[in-house]
Subunit: 267 residues, 2 copies
């Protein structure tokens, strides 16, 4: 592995592009190869075994592209497959759960941490475990918000219906007095301004995408794998199905234009 | 094929169970084998080729189970794969689009027909084509409602947010004065009472599940394949992944208890 090798990022679909956006912001000299498994999205309702099999196939493909590190920009894949990937592949593998959990434990003052995510992520208990592994006394209140992903994909980031739904979902956090809320889904950063208003200024929002990019920066630095300044960060975007749809939807998540999406079939 | 053989039904997931519910109501002596492709749901965002390949695999499996007819209880699979299945398999194959289109053309008085469905179904233009193949003078107003499926799966069938979203989606139909609205998605029958209130009593709702079951009845009768009275309709439910989730969610769509869900992996 060399500093000039790209960073491999994968997700079940396009949500992981919010992590790419943060990587580009924090590590502007890196090249990124993003794989969105749009043929098999979503991973949430799939069994852990299936998610592990898919993640393994994608990681194998990324390693063939000679990436220097793999970022699992998908909460479900992190929950079910991260340990296996870290064991089975000879390069650093970073998930989205641990960095968010760590930031939340640092940020909370009253040890009451809220977590929101998809049904799959919340049911996996991954954030619970990650937070309690760092802080035993933390109280975790978790809430699945299954409608947030489709609302984001529909572009309804701040409509009255979205606010009503958010108020309903976030009710447990106001009554339980959490002071820190982890956005445990890569789609949620797009809802951040609206969510901040709904929970109020006393609740600190933790953006997993931001924290994961910071963790990647730390890991690359430790291993002397940061791309040299002056490198040009050109990226590759790959989808396992419907690349046109990926291109159109993806720009909103990435916050920048995507010129081309390649199609690669796995499995 | 014999009258005692079962009816094969498939869908990308659990939505097609609303078609099974209607089949059970209209044809109580039939045995049904239902295949829900939960490992690869949803089909909507996938490319037509991929949907055709999946549909072919499932139809092959159903034929191995010795079904006498196949009902494609999935709008996306009907849009992309019905013709191929009808050409490639030696048994009747019935889709969900044609029966709803036919019923709408019969029901309308002013030739203005609305169609709602997922993004995949609406973008495929399948209802447009099916309606115009029957009636040239029909005016079709189509509207994708991507949030309805997640709202139904969340069980939010009649909340304030659901009504707000429905009013927003259905606005084109009130301004365009359609008098008939096709529910072009197998999830939507669960929203029917709320949708009926939103569009008002002057708009006739066409339930594709109901019409598809009626069409199945007609095809079986024509070919002398109706199960003899006195037969006991015991059914098999099969999912390609996460059968427990299927069982829990499925009952709401079927309107009856499911005892067991088998897991079968295809592809």
């Amino acid at each position: 592995m060399s500093p000039r090798d790209p960073i491999g990022v994968f997700d079940s679909g396009i949500g992981g592009l919010t992590v790419v956006r943060e990587l580009v912001r924090q590590l502007p000299h890196e090249r990124i190869i993003y794989f969105g498994d749009t043929a098999r999205v979503p991973y949430g309702p799939k069994s852990p075994d299936t998610v592990r099999r898919y993640s393994n196939e994608i990681a194998t493909w990324l390693v063939e592209q000679r990436v220097k590190v793999i970022v699992v920009a998908c909460n479900t894949a992190t929950a079910h497959a991260l340990e296996n990937l870290q064991r089975d592949f000879p390069l650093p593998v970073i998930g989205v759960v641990q960095p968010g959990a760590r930031a939340a434990v640092c940020a909370t003052r009253n040890h009451r941490i809220g977590v929101i995510g998809t049904l799959g992520t919340i049911n996996s208990g991954a954030y619970d475990r990650a937070i309690h592994a760092i802080s035993r006394e933390a109280d975790v209140v978790a809430q699945a918000c299954p409608l947030f992903v489709p609302l984001v994909e529909e572009g309804w980031l701040d409509t009255e219906a979205t606010r009503l739904i958010a108020r309903e979902y976030l009710r447990p956090f106001t009554s339980d007095h959490v002071d820190t809320l982890v956005l445990g889904c890569t789609h949620y950063p797009l809802l951040k301004p609206m969510l901040a208003q709904v929970v109020g200024r006393d609740v600190r929002l933790i953006d997993s995408a931001e924290e994961t990019a910071a963790e990647t920066c730390r890991v690359l630095t430790e291993r002397n794998l940061v791309a040299p300044p002056g490198s040009v960060g050109t990226h590759r975007f790959v989808a396992s199905d419907a690349p046109d749809h990926f291109l159109r939807q993806g720009q909103r998540f990435l916050g920048a234009a995507i010129d081309e999406v390649e199609k690669v079939t796995l499995g």
